[in-house]
Amino acid sequence: MIYHGSRLTFKADTTPRQRMEALDSLREQGRTIPSVRSFAVGRDHSGEYEWGAIFVIEDLDGYREFLTHPARRRADRIALPLVEDIVSFDLTDDTDPETGAKIAELRRLLLEAPVEPDPLPDRPAHTRRTVLKAIAVTAAGTAAAGTGVAAAAPRTAAAAQAYAVAPGASVEVAMTVNGQPRKIVLEPRVTLLDALRERLGLTGTKKGCDRGECGACTVLVDGERVKSCLTLAVMRQGAEVTTVEGLARGEELHPVQEAFIRNDAFQCGACTPGQIMSAVACINEGHTGSEAEIREWMSGNLCRCAAYQNIVAAVADAAKEVRR
């Protein structure tokens, strides 16, 4: 089975009526192209993009038919002038690694094909390439061919997917962030830090140096502290991420947060989210046996205001509380 999906970002100056027309043309594809087994077109609620469509197609032959069908050309003609950006992806549960390559090949051929001339002469001709900023081919199941999978078996199904993304393409990354399942479509070059801040709006995690030298971006990934500027979001498929926004339980602060306030362990606050995440991990790791040990194990987080003495006190203080 091949799943073909698109996310559309409409141009700001399009009217609701134009948008409806474009979406109707997408629905029409689903209804009229024989190889489409099922489809859905609608508003997306993840907040990442507004409109999306997904088409489920039986096999490669059906996929070829889908890509070249006149209904699809018609939809392109209507929709392309209206959109700013299309992010498109293909997913397959076919275990043959070649399938992914063939899908990509078909897509590439299609991209080169011009869309039929627009009936309005003053509009520039569009190809899908002009608006299709990103493609991804996800070949689910190729990992099964590998011998080492068992040793590195991830916990979730999403993480088990091995996949390939072409340069310039985007891919959907599924993560659990602060207990919530989140999906983000992004290029492989996007760091976990920028995914959190710029895509998910979680600006509690700070960017200080963007090169792993200050620690302000520290978050927990699967319970371990990492510098989120030094890892790509795409490498964290299926991971559980905790940021400073995810520590408190409602109104009740985490003991480390309480201890930071109690001990005045911050001034400007820019390093503080990273310090706190690092402190949570430091306590979990058991590196709070002495002040000297805390100092060493908290030294991956710079505090330019230099509230270090109070940070050490706060970590020691919170460690007592957490371990009680």
Partner: protein
């Protein structure tokens, strides 16, 4: 960073196969150095091959050797009971590296392949023979406090920044490689190359090869080993000078000694003449001093790193005195 593609490989063989057919690709495990190299313009790749799901992350001890899987994380290796017991120098070198966060992320293979911290190498607007062959080496006349006094030349005097590599060099580790031409093992002494006139070529790895493991032979001397790292702030910094040492004595007489040095050489520095000068002799201040002088006999210091000639000898005295119970 330029836009790059990304593939998750499912097995070592698959990873190598993908690399062979994908131009301008490289492997990524932790990415902690690679991302900065790509940001700095010191490296550019069109495709990253994720090697985290190859099943090569185990740490295992058998009768003859310790095997570190290439994607084992620094923290796991540092905390591994067998490593701490039988190879303390490895554990100490790892714990003296980077930050707790990076040690959770960075892999053993990536650690060995991290690139120099030379400021000129990391500034894409500066000349650098390592980055752009033939463009020149400003470090020789510029700022060279962090640079090598041993093994350099007119083309490059950059040091290798890995603490782990220094410790592995002392312990005669072997690096396991898998590439289009099959599997092979390279002794670490042959793994890192001197810059010569081709500083861009840092290791003996061939195009498309992947580190899959690092083996460390089990020896009695490894169990009595230490890592001394001297730097300009208390912690979280690269070495100004470091020494990995393993020592076995009978009475006062040195039965076996292994020494490697960081921060002073263009590669993790080992000089068998220094060890030979100590072996079979009583471990005395005099003997260590002589060995130290041998170490720096060919040193070529520059304006900013002249002090390392003295400092590395003192570091040698310090670590051997500690290990040999001279104090």
């Amino acid at each position: 960073m330029r836009a790059f593609g990304y593939t998750v490989a499912g097995s070592p063989a698959e990873a190598v196969r993908i690399a062979a057919r994908t131009p301008d690709s490289t492997f990524v495990a932790g990415g902690t150095d690679l991302l900065n190299l790509m940001r700095d313009g010191a490296e550019a790749h069109d495709h990253l091959i994720d090697v985290n799901r190859l099943g090569i992350g185990e740490v295992a001890l058998d009768r003859r050797r310790l095997r570190l899987g290439a994607t084992a994380r620094m923290r796991r290796v540092a905390e591994h009971p067998a490593v701490r017991r039988e190879f303390p120098v490895l554990s100490e070198a790892l714990l003296a590296s980077a930050s707790p966060q990076v040690r959770n992320m960075a892999s053993i293979g990536g650690n060995l392949l991290q690139r120099t911290r030379c400021g000129y190498f990391r500034d894409s607007a500066s000349p650098c023979n390592k980055r752009v062959p033939g463009s020149g080496c400003p470090a020789i006349t510029g700022h060279n406090r962090g640079h090598a006094i041993l093994g350099g030349g007119d083309h490059c005097i950059a040091t290798h920044p890995s603490d782990l590599a220094v410790a592995l060099t002392a312990l005669d580790a072997t690096v396991g490689l898998l590439g289009p031409g099959g599997e092979r093992a390279v002794p670490i002494a042959d793994f890192y190359l001197l810059p010569g006139s081709t500083p861009e070529q840092e290791t003996a790895m061939r195009p498309g090869e992947l580190i899959t493991w690092v083996d460390v032979p089990r020896t009695s001397v490894a169990g009595h080993s230490r890592y001394l790292k001297l730097r300009d702030r208390a912690t979280f910094e690269f070495a100004v000078v470091s020494v990995a040492a393993a020592l076995r004595t009978r009475g006062r007489v040195v039965q076996d000694v292994r020494l490697a040095f960081g921060g002073v050489g263009t590669r993790p520095w080992r000089d068998l003449r220094v060890e030979a000068a100590l072996r079979g002799r009583p471990l005395t201040g005099q003997a260590i001093a002589e060995a130290g002088r041998l170490l720096v006999a060919d040193a070529k210091p520059y304006e900013g790193n002249r002090f390392k000639v003295e400092l590395v000898q003192r570091a040698l005295v310090s670590i051997l005195s500690d290990l040999g119970g001279l104090r």
